[in-house]
């Protein structure tokens, strides 16, 4: 039945094309810069006849009787009245306030609409605002600019990552990401050069995104790229920026105690040890093999540093003085540099416009030997001939990243520095001695063993000289240097035929393909130079490719029937996805040291391959019916058939909305420029991936003497399994006042019900999980956008955009019978730390772990001085409740422009693994602080030291006692107590700052050389204005649960030059 309804829709729209065409006058409306003004109202003076310009600014209007003039108006512009000449008109509208202009909203399949009539909240970010400073990726550039968008940024130390965003909290049990669409082509990544972007439309609920289908389950980020200019002619633009990045926030370390455990050993030379060591006989050393910092107090005393044992350096066999190294961690990080060059060419002729752009992003990372080289080529052309329009967009990206280093537990930089390290290490010497070797060829490590281990016979030298758990970090990053290369081609060719002013048929072919290879090597010297580091010589290579093709046929029909304006589309789309991957690697080391090929593997190589395909066929239609100028109704419907659905199944999902523009119906006071109410409702699906309906028995990667291995899958599947349906309701008000202020207020409610989830089941069932439709998440919230042009004089212009979102409610309402929570994946050191869950009746992303028990507000202290701990306690959600941003633009005489963009969030928690280990290993300042008696907590309790612990015992009696510092700070690991390691995600950050100056080209006599020359001073993520947490930068927490040893935050300053020829 639904199918029939849609089919009818298509027939009806086709029929419209048969209607007669009326004669009139036509023209194009542009702004002062020659850019099209879409959706401007064109009114025939002295009549009720009106028309709207289309997305290209073109219009045609019926002319009746004696009418001789047209009035053109659009919010954000001054109205203009022109004479009808009989020829096509070109009308220029002078600007009013920049940030109050009517904007074009782009929805699925490239369909455009005026923001004036949208029945949902929508925000369009201009390319200008997006590129205030050059951010390393698109998501980072969106931070703070869209209400309801939470940027989850990542440290710039990590190269090649794209950060991520959440729109309106999280509606999906397992978390999900928004769909990125570029010129109508869906991409599964945000990997697009921000400088090629003209504007971005951010659509959130199902009411706004139903037409995109299932992949927009958590919203759509719709990108329109820059096209050739709208004015005829040729132009060249060149932009170059340089940025220098430095490490920003680090935890506060203790600078009193050296590495090792409590012992301070006197070295006694023994027979069998190298003679050269005799020089050190009788001198003292701290335990090198223990990678914690519970060693002796650093008082400048003479000691044997780690490097004194290796021959051949100026430090060999010499003692040094044991002194604090307060800046050793900061000293380690390089100053990163990035260069971003963009050259674009555009040409606009009578019937054709073209833009070609090339961008090179070249980054030298903050870690040794990390770099990124990314090339983006973008081509766009739009040509019209007769009634045909051909549009082509092609975007090619080639990216090479060297040193995509891990930032999880026990990584060789922050994972070591904040979790396992010696506080007495001098980084300058560390760097200088990165190639120091033992006579046998073992590379030196600060974490080598203690001298007596040398006396283990033939194994002795390696026992002693090689790193126990760690290498010299400078050497480690030279050794491990994974290389990944990515090729991406995304683009579309679209041909439309305009039958008449009412009916247009468009065919699109879209493709998004990506291929990637990565190669990684662990050198043989690395294996030899570590005893318990876990590194075996290794060579691995993997490649993957995926492609998505979309074919669309879309008919568009627009017409006016009396006071009714109809704008409708109907179409069919087919999407096919294919993926392929393979990987292979050596096992258990290499036969011939230093030869990195698969055939050199000691054990048989592991290999894997996988391929997948899925297809989606959809019929869709939209209709927008407006009555006069004051009310409009929006309808969309889409029906999907897909290989990933149960056989024969299809899903149908509609959306409906209305916009009521009161200011067009009722005479408003003059200060109200526009008053709109809107309300809408819609559904959208969230589908399963391929192959979800059967138990899939795969073969093991290796055979046992010719016997294949196969295991039973761990997830049981409900035979009725299917995807879920997301339903959104939204209502709001949009008001423009005094031609200065625009306020948009939106309230939404969203339900994502019967979500397919893998619920953990008792392994005793034979399975560890079961895939069923069960979970439901409800969200409610409101968003405010406020744009104002506070000052607008000839000299000064100050614009502010404020946005704020309040996530009132984001609860996991049901999971599955008997299931109280589902892990969101990823955890800190197994189950030692609190981990994020979708927990029943709690806000999504609840951190759950073991917690100190309180009795009437007092912690309960056990007889051994430990805090009493209770398992499975809630610590709060990882979702911030309040998010938003503030964008400021100040212009002076049209020459100087200052932009300052702030992003903020309040609420939300994260767990820090580094904090836990930083306690355990005695690295953090708190582990060597003074207690209330003024003694260092590391001093013996008998001498007045120790950590003061106050609380009650299990009977409720008051306890006040001092606990040995090591016992106190290691208890949290032993007891799995997460209490001290829960941090706040609240912050206010100056995300972007730019001070730009348009050089007076004419005055300088350069007008023959260039049209415009702008120089800007830029700063990215320059200042954490405030954060509740002082240890980490809460704006850059990557894993869902929190911090796992991740890289420190980074800030940068730079220069940007733009020349237009």
């Amino acid at each position: 039945m639904k199918k029939l309804a849609l089919s009818l829709l298509i027939v009806i729209f086709s029929g419209f094309a048969l209607l007669a065409q009326t004669a009139g006058t036509s023209g194009k409306v542009v702004d002062e810069n020659g850019a099209a003004v879409p959706f401007a109202t064109v009114k025939l003076e002295g009549s009720k006849v009106t028309a709207l310009t289309d997305a290209d600014g073109s219009f045609s209007i019926k002319t009746v009787g004696s009418a001789k003039k047209l009035t053109v108006s659009s919010v954000g512009f001054k109205s203009v009245t022109v004479d009808i000449t009989g020829k096509p008109l070109s009308i220029v509208l002078p600007s009013a306030a920049e940030n109050l202009k009517e904007v074009v909203v782009t929805n699925a399949f490239g369909l455009k609409q005026s923001s004036k009539k949208t029945p949902y909240s929508v925000q369009v970010v201009s390319g200008e605002k997006l590129n205030t400073v050059v951010q390393p990726n698109l998501n980072a550039a969106l931070g703070g600019k869209v209400a309801g968008l939470q940027l989850r940024d990542e440290s710039n130390v990590a190269l090649g990552r794209n950060s991520s965003v959440r729109l309106r909290g999280e509606g999906s049990i397992g978390g999900s990401s928004a769909l990125y669409v570029i010129d109508g082509t869906p991409m599964n990544s945000s990997d697009i050069n921000p400088q090629d972007i003209e504007s971005i439309t951010v659509l959130k609920g199902a009411n706004a995104t139903a037409l995109f289908g299932d992949r927009a389950s958590s919203g759509a980020i719709v990108i329109t790229t820059k096209k050739g200019g709208s004015k005829k002619g040729v132009g060249i633009e060149f932009t170059q920026s340089f940025t220098a990045d430095v490490v920003y926030r680090l935890p506060e370390y203790q600078n009193l105690y050296a590495g090792g455990d409590g012992t301070y050993e006197k070295f006694a030379w023994q027979t069998g040890m190298p003679d050269t060591w005799k020089a050190l006989d009788g001198k003292y050393y701290h335990d090198y093999s223990d990678d914690a910092s519970w060693g002796p107090r650093m008082t400048g005393q003479e000691y044997i540093p780690w490097y004194a044992w290796y021959p051949g350096t100026k430090y060999s066999f010499k003692t040094a003085s044991l002194t604090p190294q307060p800046n050793n961690i900061r000293d380690f990080w390089n100053t990163g540099t990035s260069s971003n060059s963009n050259l674009s060419f555009f040409k606009t002729g009578e019937n054709s416009s073209t833009r070609v752009s090339y961008t090179n992003q070249n980054i030298k990372g903050l870690l040794p030997n990390s770099k990124q080289d990314k090339h983006t080529l973008f081509f766009t052309n739009k040509s019209t001939f007769n009634k045909f329009t051909l549009e082509t967009n092609i975007n090619y990206v080639f990216n090479t990243v060297n040193g995509q280093f891990d930032d999880g537990y026990a990584n060789n930089s922050s994972g070591s520095f904040n979790q396992w390290f010696h506080r007495d290490l001098d980084m300058k010497i560390m760097k200088e001695l990165k190639d120091v070797k033992s006579p046998e060829g073992y590379f030196g490590s600060w974490n080598h063993n203690n001298p007596s281990t040398y006396l283990a016979g033939a194994a002795g030298p390696r026992n002693f000289y090689a790193g126990n758990y760690w290498y010299n970090p400078y050497k480690a990053f030279e050794w491990i240097n994974p290389v990944s290369k990515t090729n991406r081609l995304v683009g579309n060719v679209s041909l439309s035929y305009k039958f008449n002013n009412h009916f247009k048929l468009t065919g699109n072919v879209r493709r998004n393909q990506i291929s990637a290879t990565s190669e990684s090597i662990t050198p043989s010297e690395m294996q030899n130079s570590g005893t318990q580091t876990g590194d075996l010589a290794y060579y691995g290579v993997s490649s993957s490719s995926s492609s998505e093709n979309n074919y669309e046929l879309i008919g568009t029909y627009t017409n006016k029937f009396g006071q009714f304006a109809v704008n409708s589309t109907a179409g069919y789309s087919l999407r096919n996805n294919k993926g392929f991957s393979m990987g292979t690697n050596t096992n258990n080391g290499l036969v011939i040291p230093g030869l990195y090929t698969l055939s050199n593997s000691i054990n048989p190589v592991s290999y894997s391959s996988s391929r997948n395909e899925s297809e989606f066929r959809s019929i869709f239609g939209t209709a927008n019916v407006g009555y006069k100028e004051w009310i409009s109704l929006d309808l969309t419907a889409r029906s999907d058939y897909a290989s990933v659905l149960q056989k024969g199944a299809n899903i149908f999902y509609p959306s409906v909305g209305t916009a009521f523009i009161m200011s067009e119906l009722v005479k408003m006071p003059t200060y109200i420029n526009n008053l709109k109410f809107f309300a809408s409702w819609g559904n959208k699906p969230q589908l399963l991936g391929a192959y979800a309906f059967a138990l899939n028995y795969g073969l093991g990667a290796n055979q046992w003497n010719g016997n294949a291995l196969m295991g039973t899958p761990d997830a049981l599947i409900d035979p009725e399994l299917k995807g879920s349906l997301i339903s959104t309701k939204e209502a709001g008000i949009d008001i423009k006042l005094f031609n200065k202020l625009n306020v948009n207020l939106t309230y939404f409610e969203e339900i994502n019900d019967k979500q397919p989830v893998n619920v953990s089941v008792s392994g005793a069932s034979g399975f560890t999980g079961k895939n069923i439709n069960a979970a439901r998440i409800d969200k409610k919230g409101f968003e405010v956008q406020l744009n104002t042009n506070i000052i607008n004089t000839k000299t000064w212009n100050y614009e502010v955009s404020l946005n704020y979102a309040n996530l009132l409610y984001n609860k996991v309402v049901t999971i599955a019978p008997g299931i109280s929570r589902i892990s969101l994946g990823g955890s800190a050191f197994g189950t030692r730390g609190a981990t994020a869950f979708a927990a029943l009746n709690e806000t999504w992303g609840q951190l759950i772990g073991s917690k100190t028990v309180y009795d009437k507000g007092q912690p309960v202290i056990l007889p051994n001085g430990y805090y009493k701990v209770a398992a499975d306690q809630n610590f709060g959600s990882v979702l911030p409740k309040h998010t938003g941003g503030m964008l400021n633009t100040l212009r002076f005489k049209g020459n100087l422009e200052i932009n300052a963009n702030i992003t903020y969030q309040f609420g939300g928690k994260f767990y820090s693994l580094s904090h836990m280990w930083g306690y355990f290993s005695g690295l953090l300042a708190e582990t060597a602080a003074l207690n209330d008696k003024g003694k260092n907590v590391r001093d013996a309790v008998a001498d007045g030291g120790g950590v003061k612990v106050s609380g009650v015992d299990e009977s409720g009696a008051k306890v006040d006692r001092y606990i040995d510092a090591n016992t106190y700070f290691t208890q949290f690991y032993f007891q799995r107590n997460s209490t001290p390691f829960i941090h706040s995600l609240s912050y206010v950050k100056l995300q972007e700052l730019s001070i730009g100056y348009h050089l007076p080209v004419a005055k300088m006599g350069l007008q023959k050389v260039c049209k415009d020359l702008t120089v800007s001073l830029i700063a990215r993520k320059p200042l954490l204005l405030w954060s509740e947490d002082k240890m980490f930068d809460p704006s850059e927490i990557s894993p869902t649960f929190g911090e796992n040893g991740q890289f420190p935050s980074v800030r940068g300053v730079g220069l940007n030059i733009r020349v237009t020829f």
């Binding site: 086709s14 007596s452 096992n587 997948n612 290796n702 295991g711 005793a764 069932s765 034979g766 399975f767």
Partner: protein, 474 residues
Amino acid sequence: MKNKLVALALSSVVLFGCSKSIDDFGDMNVNPNSTPIPVTSALLTNVLSGIGGTAAGITPGYYCQYFAQTQYTDESRYTPPQADFDGYYSGVLNDLQNIINVNSDAKYKDLAALNGSNANQIAIARILKAYYYWIVTDYWGDVPFSQALKGNSDIAYDKQSAIYPALIAELKAAVAQFDAGTTVKGDVIYSGSTTKWTKFANSLRMMMALRLSKVDAATGKAEFAAALATGSFIDASADNFTVNYPGGAFSNPWFNNYLTRKDQGVASFVTGMQTANADPRAAAFGSSSVGIPYGLTRDLASAFVGANPTWAYVLPASKRAANSPVIVLSSSQLKFARAEAAKLGWTSENVATLYANGVKENMTDWGVFTQTAYDAYMLKVALNGTDDLKLINTEAYLAFYPNGFQGWSNWRRSGFPVLTPTTYAANVSKQIPRRYMYGTREFATNSKNVTAAAANYSGADGVNSSDAKVWWDK
């Protein structure tokens, strides 16, 4: 007009060209990377590839002081052993259940029979299931059994007192099921020999029966005697349940364990005993005779291994090569079980002969047997009529080495050898753990049932305690 015709034509194409087959995707959603029906021989190999690991349990090996930790000393200081048993069920046990199901399913049994007769495949799977359930219940006590492996939820726990008789009955039934049909494929232990599997099954019955020595001696005696009476059990090294690792991807677990780590060595408790008795097996148990004091703090352990660079790794390098075998159950271990059964009056076998042969076979299995060394050793550990249970179980303890699961379980039952808990114990009771605590996963997924089961195991640290004893541990 032409335009309009074009439009109509195109719309028709869209409408009818696609709607005809719009919901037909053929086999596109059938996973090309896997098969929907399991290959039973591959399931069996998968189970057997990991079975050597059950005889290389490191944590219980700390509890019975076979091994001592060198740096991170948590387990050997008894930090509460809360562990999930899910892996046993969803891994090996469900693979075995799957072998039984596929071989019993009218639709698939003929296909499965390509890998050996249905009855023989089922019988082997039942024996292995009984073996794994035995391990699970001995670690945790009461566990899901009768209601397990059904893809169900809300799974009740069975009492260990009910599981034991059921396992013994299952072993009997499995042996009875063997037929003369085709040899089972994928059996990397006994190459499908039903005789050897029968011997293994009957040997397991004896081992299980002996566990009942304190809690239900009558049943223990009856079952032990019945198994012995079959005359078909592991009585010579050739019948040992031995995992012969091919090396490579399937390597000896001790080889893998020491590949990039050195977390544990032989405990000085073992090396001390061996040195005192001039035990020739010392050379096979560790890389040296420098045992590590048991249960030290991290500082002390690091200091000890730092000061004693020749400390004993578990097994010398030659015994933990990638392709070194692991013995899961040996004739020597059976001899000590039979010696104890005879000593208890359960059977009429000769205690002294079994005891002597047990030592001899164990030394032979390790490749260190010489008549002189053996004779000298037997003088040191000779049975004396008063301490015999202690002596038999101490030799059993050595014969189980390095199988921590058996060493710890036999100690829990017999109390021998006498072990002293570490003075650095970090648990509340400061006693050696007697069971594993139910894991967090079970509390999250089968809360009602595990909570009820946990209530039966109280100790100094509350319910679900590792201080509490399992049913047969008296």
